[in-house]
Amino acid sequence: MLRMPGPSDARIATADRIAKAVLWVFTALAVVSTAGMLLFAAGGARASTLVPMKPQDAAGGTLLLKSNADGGTFAVPLLATDVEIRVAGLVARAVVRQRFRNPHPDWYEGIYVFPLPESAAVDHLRMRIGERLVEGEIREREAAKAAYERAKQSGQRATLLEQERPNIFTSSVANIGPGEEIEVELEYQQRLRYEQARYSLRFPMVVGPRYIPGTPDAALLGTGWAPGTDQVPDAARITPPVLRPGADVAPVNPVTLRVTLEAGVPLAAVESAFHPVQVRETSPSRREVVLEGGTYAARDFELAWTVAPDRAPRVAFFTERRGERHYALLMVMPPAGERIRASLPREVIFVIDTSGSMHGASILQAKEALELAVLRLGPRDRFNVIEFNSGASMLFTDARAATPETTAIATRWIRALRAQGGTEMAKAVGLALRGRERPDRVRQVIFLTDGAVGNEDALFRLIAERLGDSRLFTVGIGSAPNSHFMTKAAQAGRGTFTYIGKPEEVKQRMTELFAKLESPVLKNVRVEWPGGAQVESWPRPLPDLYLGEPVVVTAALARAEGEIVVSGMLGDAPWRAVVPVSAAPEGRGMGVLWARDKIAALMDSLRDNAPEPEIRAAVVDLALTHHLVTKYTSLIAVDRPPARPETVPLKSAALPTNLPDGWTYDAVFGELPQGATDARFDLLLGALLLAAALLAFGARRRLAA
């Protein structure tokens, strides 16, 4: 290093020392503040141990209870599950066999909480003891439970199957003798999911931690804070063993699974997303899929397949005769792949919520989504934008063609939007739905909002009244949009509901929605049944058919004759298909599908404040006729001869549930509201900065001296 010798070398050295001192002070300050923050955080962690659990357990839904769930070991019956699923067209029928084995010298009761697909209609229960088979019968829930308790007390073998939530069931098996094996066989039926030219079938292998026995499921809340809370519903004395993450326990409940796929049309590709499978091709439209051995119930099974593409919508129709009635499943398949050439020009009305509740991330997401949407419009499309808060205002007085000029104006207008004021949604709905219908255009209203309104019911009525031939689509924005409003408004508007939860999702979700909206395959879908009024069909009303979606209708008919006419507008041309009823292939389980649809509609009406006793009576009636497990009905099988001598006590054990690999959460949309501010952090950081400022002023004074 080169230094020029001079008289003021000493002064430089002083400045140097001071500068170094300042540097040291800041380094020390940084170290202290880091340590302080760590201590602060550690303090938080210490405080959280006041509750007897760790947060990582909490994420799994473990109880904050004074229960001694960890104390003692449990002698537990073992369980194995075999699943056989048959897929025919759009319907899957599954047989699930649960083998309860008791390796212990005592008599046991086994209780197992397990998931089934959300749309599953469970209609059969069989109990197999050695060679004997006992068929389950459907009863009202309370009656079934009472029968089970009676059988349990008198030493008879019995199985009870109850629905806890639409996708969570509990099977209880009473009186499994020492070393004995009891097989519980249940059957369910479901419709497959079909989107973007891809069918998928899902079998949930494990109840997510939130559903472990002991989760105070809303239906079980009755037992309250008492130690009974963390127990399965009907076994007050049992504390269910739960395989905790990290616990040194081998996985329980091995699963075998076999799927027979009969697509009806030639298949293109079949794949399993998460599990190794063997696929055997038995014919162009048929596959046998077997899950490879050694799989434990730790992750949901998903099988997806595509069929060879076709051009025009095809109509599929199956009927089933049960007693005096015929049940039918009608399916309109959209063509996959190629975009419809003659799609109708659209008139798109965007409505954006700029009320105060949208402030922050929500309005940014909404604006981004809206801008993307406007830029995607084609030159033949017309559009307008409406914003609403305390009032509603429109970008153009009437819908304009989407030219580069108009879209540029719209983009500037959108960018300038600010979120403030009230939420007067009715005005916006009025403006959006006042347009006159034009037969040569598809009119779509896209509503971007968090749905933070209190007068939902009035809005649903308004939408239904004014809808005409328009279609209303809701796009839910923000972390906690009002789901009830979103779904019901879309239903009233005969459109769909898209949920955007995270900023990163805006682009993908909006692109998907627009790809769909740009190609309405079939508009004004109508199904005319023979025999007119004698038909009861679901859903009501029928939605339009978009690219990648089939319309599926279930119906109950008085007579199976005549012709069904399915009609609609395909692009700008009328389209019509005639299906002779008598030619329909006989299918199985159409009645169950129809009943499940009707029950779902009835349960939905509860949310619209339909009187519960009436709905309950209607659901019980349907469920008893169609042998379905519902919220109000359970399946019960009792083996008449008593098995357990009265003098020998019965012990109970809930079966442990495996925790899923990772956390395969089936995106229930929405989250709980967030409840924290950065205030604490701001204050701490502020204090540190102020301290640093003081020090810097001190250093400056010394420098000046």
């Binding site: 500068a19 938080g44 904050l64 809340l221 009755g222 009230g422 939902e456 409840g675 950065d678 002023f697």
Partner: protein, 223 residues
């Protein structure tokens, strides 16, 4: 090696790395001292500004939370007198829907319509789509763990919570259970089961920053 090593007189080395930089490049020592002083002043001023701004933000959150609740008293009085959706200040996007009392902890809070970030800055918010507090079903209320709902950590089973409805009627609840859940566990919002109050806030209570995945849930059953 991507960079070639260029032989260079050792004069140039060290100049860029030394701290403080050797005097050689500058004209006079006076100028340098003034420069250091100036820099220290700027730094101190910047730190002061940032510190004030940062603390101000923190103070603002608490001030807003407290002030809004004070303004709510009047709006609530008018609500009890029969008006609907009384906005506590004219540009508000929310209004009080219930008054929440916890006598044991001397807590009095006005519950606002909507549990969005905007509303809960001013008070705990009622989650739209769930029954209003005091009505039949599961009424869900969300709020900040460091302002209004900070008292949740002190709740124990059995503590009484009273809800006053807009019509003046009161309903009593007793804390049933508390637990920590993941924010995706939306079953907490379900309406089935007994009439109850579900209070939700962020967890852990002592976390410095907002935005964690955990929520603290307190459920109180109607008595």
């Amino acid at each position: 090696m991507r960079h070639a090593v260029v032989p260079y007189p050792d004069v140039a080395l060290g100049v860029e790395c030394a701290f403080p930089a050797p005097q050689r490049a500058f004209g006079g020592r006076e100028r340098r001292a003034r420069w250091v002083r100036g820099a220290a002043t700027v730094l101190a001023a910047a730190l002061l500004g940032a510190g004030l701004w940062q603390s101000g933000q923190g103070v603002y959150v608490h001030a807003k939370a407290a002030l809004a609740q004070a303004l709510m008293h009047r709006a609530w009085a008018r609500t009890l007198a029969g008006e609907r959706e009384v906005r506590p200040w004219s540009w508000a996007d929310t209004w009080p829907v219930a008054r929440l009392l916890v006598p044991e902890l001397e807590v009095e809070l006005f519950v606002l319509a909507g549990a969005n970030g905007r509303a809960i800055a001013f008070g705990p918010g009622h989650v739209f789509g769930t029954p209003l507090p005091g009505e039949t079903g599961n009424s869900v209320i969300g709020g900040h763990r460091d302002t209004h709902l900070a008292f949740l950590r002190d709740l124990e089973p059995g503590v009484e919570i009273i809800v006053e409805r807009p019509d003046g009627a009161r309903r009593r609840y007793r804390v049933d259970w508390m637990r920590v859940v993941d924010k995706r566990e939306v079953w907490v919002l379900e309406n089935e089961g007994p009439t109850r109050l579900t209070l939700i806030t962020c967890y852990p209570f002592d976390a410095l920053r907002a935005g964690g995945p955990l929520r603290y849930v307190v459920v109180a059953r109607a008595t």
